[in-house]
Protein backbone atom coordinates (compact mmCIF):
# COMPACT_ATOMS: atom_id res chain seq x y z
CA UNK A 1 0.00 0.00 0.00
CA UNK A 2 1.37 3.44 -0.99
CA UNK A 3 1.99 6.33 1.38
CA UNK A 4 -1.08 8.26 0.16
CA UNK A 5 -3.32 5.25 0.57
CA UNK A 6 -2.00 4.68 4.08
CA UNK A 7 -2.75 8.31 4.94
CA UNK A 8 -6.24 8.00 3.48
CA UNK A 9 -6.86 4.86 5.49
CA UNK A 10 -5.64 6.56 8.66
CA UNK A 11 -7.99 9.50 8.04
CA UNK A 12 -10.86 7.02 7.68
CA UNK A 13 -9.95 5.42 11.02
CA UNK A 14 -9.86 8.89 12.62
CA UNK A 15 -13.37 9.49 11.27
CA UNK A 16 -14.54 6.18 12.72
CA UNK A 17 -13.05 6.85 16.16
CA UNK A 18 -14.56 10.35 16.34
CA UNK A 19 -17.96 9.15 15.11
CA UNK A 20 -17.91 6.38 17.73
CA UNK A 21 -17.18 8.92 20.47
CA UNK A 22 -19.77 11.39 19.25
CA UNK A 23 -22.44 8.68 18.93
CA UNK A 24 -21.80 7.65 22.55
CA UNK A 25 -22.09 11.26 23.70
CA UNK A 26 -25.32 11.78 21.78
CA UNK A 27 -26.70 8.44 23.00
CA UNK A 28 -26.24 9.68 26.57
CA UNK A 29 -27.62 13.12 25.71
CA UNK A 30 -24.54 14.67 27.30
CA UNK A 31 -22.13 17.47 26.50
CA UNK A 32 -18.73 16.61 25.06
CA UNK A 33 -16.90 17.56 28.25
CA UNK A 34 -19.05 15.24 30.35
CA UNK A 35 -18.26 11.89 28.73
CA UNK A 36 -14.81 10.46 29.29
CA UNK A 37 -13.37 7.64 27.17
CA UNK A 38 -10.65 5.14 27.82
CA UNK A 39 -9.03 3.42 24.86
CA UNK A 40 -6.40 1.64 26.91
CA UNK A 41 -5.99 -2.04 25.94
CA UNK A 42 -8.94 -4.22 27.00
CA UNK A 43 -10.93 -1.25 28.35
CA UNK A 44 -14.70 -1.19 27.86
CA UNK A 45 -14.55 1.52 25.19
CA UNK A 46 -11.78 -0.27 23.31
CA UNK A 47 -13.75 -3.52 23.22
CA UNK A 48 -16.87 -1.63 22.09
CA UNK A 49 -15.17 0.29 19.27
CA UNK A 50 -13.38 -2.80 17.92
CA UNK A 51 -16.67 -4.70 17.99
CA UNK A 52 -18.54 -1.88 16.25
CA UNK A 53 -15.99 -0.93 13.60
CA UNK A 54 -13.83 -4.03 13.17
CA UNK A 55 -10.72 -1.84 13.23
CA UNK A 56 -7.56 -3.23 14.86
CA UNK A 57 -6.41 -1.84 18.20
CA UNK A 58 -3.10 -0.81 16.64
CA UNK A 59 -4.88 1.31 14.03
CA UNK A 60 -7.11 2.86 16.67
CA UNK A 61 -4.07 3.81 18.74
CA UNK A 62 -2.37 5.38 15.70
CA UNK A 63 -5.53 7.34 14.93
CA UNK A 64 -5.78 8.48 18.56
CA UNK A 65 -2.22 9.82 18.41
CA UNK A 66 -3.24 11.98 15.45
CA UNK A 67 -6.49 12.99 17.18
CA UNK A 68 -4.54 14.16 20.24
CA UNK A 69 -2.01 16.02 18.07
CA UNK A 70 -4.76 17.79 16.10
CA UNK A 71 -6.83 18.55 19.20
CA UNK A 72 -9.78 16.39 18.13
CA UNK A 73 -9.57 14.75 21.54
CA UNK A 74 -7.86 15.87 24.70
CA UNK A 75 -6.96 14.49 28.11
CA UNK A 76 -9.29 15.59 30.85
CA UNK A 77 -6.86 14.86 33.66
CA UNK A 78 -3.51 13.37 34.44
CA UNK A 79 -2.75 9.83 35.54
CA UNK A 80 -5.21 8.04 33.30
CA UNK A 81 -2.72 6.65 30.78
CA UNK A 82 -1.96 7.87 27.27
CA UNK A 83 -5.27 6.65 25.85
CA UNK A 84 -7.38 7.05 28.98
CA UNK A 85 -9.37 10.00 30.35
CA UNK A 86 -10.01 11.32 26.84
CA UNK A 87 -12.79 13.73 25.94
CA UNK A 88 -13.97 14.85 22.53
CA UNK A 89 -13.28 18.52 21.69
CA UNK A 90 -15.44 20.88 19.59
CA UNK A 91 -13.06 20.21 16.69
CA UNK A 92 -13.46 16.43 17.06
CA UNK A 93 -17.22 16.64 17.31
CA UNK A 94 -17.27 19.00 14.34
CA UNK A 95 -15.37 16.48 12.24
CA UNK A 96 -17.67 13.63 13.30
CA UNK A 97 -20.76 15.70 12.51
CA UNK A 98 -19.28 16.80 9.16
CA UNK A 99 -18.51 13.22 8.12
CA UNK A 100 -22.02 12.05 9.04
CA UNK A 101 -23.69 15.06 7.41
CA UNK A 102 -21.73 14.54 4.18
CA UNK A 103 -23.40 11.15 3.80
CA UNK A 104 -26.83 12.73 3.59
CA UNK A 105 -26.44 16.18 2.05
CA UNK A 106 -24.88 17.67 -1.05
CA UNK A 107 -22.23 20.31 -0.29
CA UNK A 108 -22.35 23.78 -1.78
CA UNK A 109 -19.97 23.83 -4.76
CA UNK A 110 -18.57 26.63 -6.87
CA UNK A 111 -15.42 28.33 -8.04
CA UNK A 112 -12.42 26.47 -6.72
CA UNK A 113 -9.87 28.47 -4.76
CA UNK A 114 -12.24 31.16 -3.48
CA UNK A 115 -10.91 32.42 -0.19
CA UNK A 116 -13.70 33.19 2.15
CA UNK A 117 -13.87 34.91 5.46
CA UNK A 118 -16.90 33.66 7.23
CA UNK A 119 -18.36 35.72 10.02
CA UNK A 120 -16.77 38.37 12.15
CA UNK A 121 -17.00 38.00 15.88
CA UNK A 122 -17.27 41.39 17.53
CA UNK A 123 -16.55 41.79 21.21
CA UNK A 124 -19.40 44.26 21.51
CA UNK A 125 -23.03 44.06 22.53
CA UNK A 126 -24.58 41.77 25.05
CA UNK A 127 -22.99 38.51 24.05
CA UNK A 128 -21.85 37.03 27.31
CA UNK A 129 -18.90 34.74 27.13
CA UNK A 130 -18.87 32.12 29.87
CA UNK A 131 -21.66 31.15 32.22
CA UNK A 132 -20.76 29.65 35.58
CA UNK A 133 -17.92 32.08 36.19
CA UNK A 134 -19.93 35.30 36.31
CA UNK A 135 -20.85 34.93 39.99
CA UNK A 136 -17.19 34.35 40.86
CA UNK A 137 -16.13 37.41 38.89
CA UNK A 138 -18.81 39.47 40.66
CA UNK A 139 -17.48 38.27 44.04
CA UNK A 140 -13.94 39.20 43.08
CA UNK A 141 -15.00 42.64 41.85
CA UNK A 142 -17.03 43.16 45.04
CA UNK A 143 -14.01 42.23 47.16
CA UNK A 144 -11.83 44.68 45.27
CA UNK A 145 -14.40 47.43 45.77
CA UNK A 146 -14.69 46.65 49.50
CA UNK A 147 -10.90 46.59 49.81
CA UNK A 148 -10.67 50.01 48.18
CA UNK A 149 -13.34 51.41 50.51
CA UNK A 150 -11.69 49.92 53.60
CA UNK A 151 -8.11 50.70 52.64
CA UNK A 152 -5.93 52.80 54.87
CA UNK A 153 -5.54 55.51 52.26
CA UNK A 154 -6.55 59.10 51.64
CA UNK A 155 -9.80 60.00 49.91
CA UNK A 156 -7.78 61.21 46.92
CA UNK A 157 -6.00 57.88 46.61
CA UNK A 158 -9.28 55.99 46.88
CA UNK A 159 -10.82 58.22 44.23
CA UNK A 160 -7.84 57.51 41.93
CA UNK A 161 -8.23 53.76 42.32
CA UNK A 162 -11.97 53.99 41.80
CA UNK A 163 -11.29 55.90 38.61
CA UNK A 164 -9.09 53.06 37.35
CA UNK A 165 -11.72 50.56 38.39
CA UNK A 166 -14.33 52.55 36.51
CA UNK A 167 -12.17 52.57 33.36
CA UNK A 168 -11.77 48.82 33.59
CA UNK A 169 -15.51 48.23 34.08
CA UNK A 170 -16.43 50.55 31.24
CA UNK A 171 -14.14 48.85 28.73
CA UNK A 172 -16.22 47.26 25.91
CA UNK A 173 -14.56 43.89 26.27
CA UNK A 174 -15.07 43.82 30.03
CA UNK A 175 -18.71 44.65 29.44
CA UNK A 176 -19.04 41.89 26.89
CA UNK A 177 -17.36 39.16 28.85
CA UNK A 178 -18.70 39.82 32.31
CA UNK A 179 -21.58 42.15 31.52
CA UNK A 180 -23.98 41.32 34.34
CA UNK A 181 -21.29 41.40 37.02
CA UNK A 182 -19.81 44.69 35.84
CA UNK A 183 -23.23 46.32 35.67
CA UNK A 184 -23.90 45.50 39.33
CA UNK A 185 -20.51 46.78 40.48
CA UNK A 186 -20.59 49.81 38.21
CA UNK A 187 -23.91 50.83 39.81
CA UNK A 188 -22.33 50.56 43.26
CA UNK A 189 -19.55 53.01 42.44
CA UNK A 190 -21.79 55.34 40.49
CA UNK A 191 -20.84 54.50 36.91
CA UNK A 192 -23.82 55.31 34.75
Amino acid sequence: MGKDELKKEREAVIDSVLIFMNDEIERHGALIAHIEFSFEAESEDTVAIIKETGISYESIREALNVCIARNYVTHRGLGTGKYGGLILTEEGQGRAVSVEAAKHTVPVAGVEGSRVQIGQIHNYGNAQIGDRNVQNVQNVLNSILESIEGADASDEEKAEVKGLFKRFLEHPLTQTVISSATTVIATKIGVS
Partner: protein
Protein backbone atom coordinates in the same frame (compact mmCIF):
# COMPACT_ATOMS: atom_id res chain seq x y z
CA UNK B 1 -6.72 45.07 24.37
CA UNK B 2 -8.35 44.21 21.05
CA UNK B 3 -11.97 45.35 20.84
CA UNK B 4 -12.69 43.48 17.65
CA UNK B 5 -11.34 40.17 16.48
CA UNK B 6 -11.85 38.72 13.02
CA UNK B 7 -11.62 34.97 12.93
CA UNK B 8 -11.13 33.03 9.71
CA UNK B 9 -12.58 29.57 9.77
CA UNK B 10 -10.46 26.56 8.96
CA UNK B 11 -11.32 23.25 7.34
CA UNK B 12 -11.98 20.83 10.17
CA UNK B 13 -10.03 18.09 8.35
CA UNK B 14 -6.89 19.76 6.96
CA UNK B 15 -7.05 23.26 8.57
CA UNK B 16 -6.96 25.03 5.19
CA UNK B 17 -8.67 28.45 4.97
CA UNK B 18 -9.78 27.98 1.36
CA UNK B 19 -13.29 26.81 0.58
CA UNK B 20 -15.08 26.11 -2.68
CA UNK B 21 -17.97 28.57 -2.92
CA UNK B 22 -20.60 29.25 -5.59
CA UNK B 23 -19.73 32.95 -5.83
CA UNK B 24 -17.76 35.63 -4.01
CA UNK B 25 -20.84 36.98 -2.25
CA UNK B 26 -21.98 33.61 -1.01
CA UNK B 27 -22.81 33.60 2.68
CA UNK B 28 -23.19 30.15 4.25
CA UNK B 29 -26.26 29.41 6.32
CA UNK B 30 -26.93 27.05 9.20
CA UNK B 31 -27.22 23.49 7.92
CA UNK B 32 -25.00 24.08 4.90
CA UNK B 33 -22.05 21.89 3.97
CA UNK B 34 -19.05 23.65 2.45
CA UNK B 35 -16.27 22.01 0.51
CA UNK B 36 -12.62 22.52 1.38
CA UNK B 37 -10.64 23.68 -1.67
CA UNK B 38 -7.53 21.91 -0.39
CA UNK B 39 -8.62 18.43 0.73
CA UNK B 40 -12.03 18.39 -0.95
CA UNK B 41 -13.88 17.24 2.14
CA UNK B 42 -17.25 18.53 3.19
CA UNK B 43 -17.44 20.70 6.33
CA UNK B 44 -20.55 21.21 8.41
CA UNK B 45 -20.92 25.01 8.66
CA UNK B 46 -22.55 24.90 12.12
CA UNK B 47 -19.61 22.89 13.47
CA UNK B 48 -17.12 25.34 11.96
CA UNK B 49 -18.92 28.21 13.67
CA UNK B 50 -18.99 26.35 16.99
CA UNK B 51 -15.22 25.88 16.81
CA UNK B 52 -14.73 29.55 15.84
CA UNK B 53 -16.87 30.71 18.78
CA UNK B 54 -14.92 28.48 21.17
CA UNK B 55 -11.66 29.98 19.92
CA UNK B 56 -13.09 33.51 20.26
CA UNK B 57 -14.18 32.76 23.82
CA UNK B 58 -10.72 31.46 24.75
CA UNK B 59 -9.11 34.54 23.23
CA UNK B 60 -11.45 36.93 25.04
CA UNK B 61 -10.92 35.15 28.36
CA UNK B 62 -7.17 35.36 27.86
CA UNK B 63 -7.41 39.11 27.25
CA UNK B 64 -9.64 39.70 30.27
CA UNK B 65 -7.18 37.77 32.43
CA UNK B 66 -4.37 39.96 31.12
CA UNK B 67 -6.39 43.10 31.87
CA UNK B 68 -7.22 41.87 35.38
CA UNK B 69 -3.53 41.17 36.00
CA UNK B 70 -2.61 44.62 34.71
CA UNK B 71 -5.28 46.17 36.91
CA UNK B 72 -4.07 44.23 39.96
CA UNK B 73 -0.52 45.48 39.33
CA UNK B 74 -1.82 49.05 39.06
CA UNK B 75 -3.63 48.61 42.37
CA UNK B 76 -0.50 47.25 44.07
CA UNK B 77 1.51 50.16 42.71
CA UNK B 78 -0.99 52.71 44.03
CA UNK B 79 -1.07 51.23 47.54
CA UNK B 80 2.71 50.88 47.93
Amino acid sequence: MENQVILKIHCIFCFSKDFVLPDKNYSPQSGHQILCAHCGRSNDYDSLMRVAKKNAKERAEEQVTQELNRFTKELSRLFK
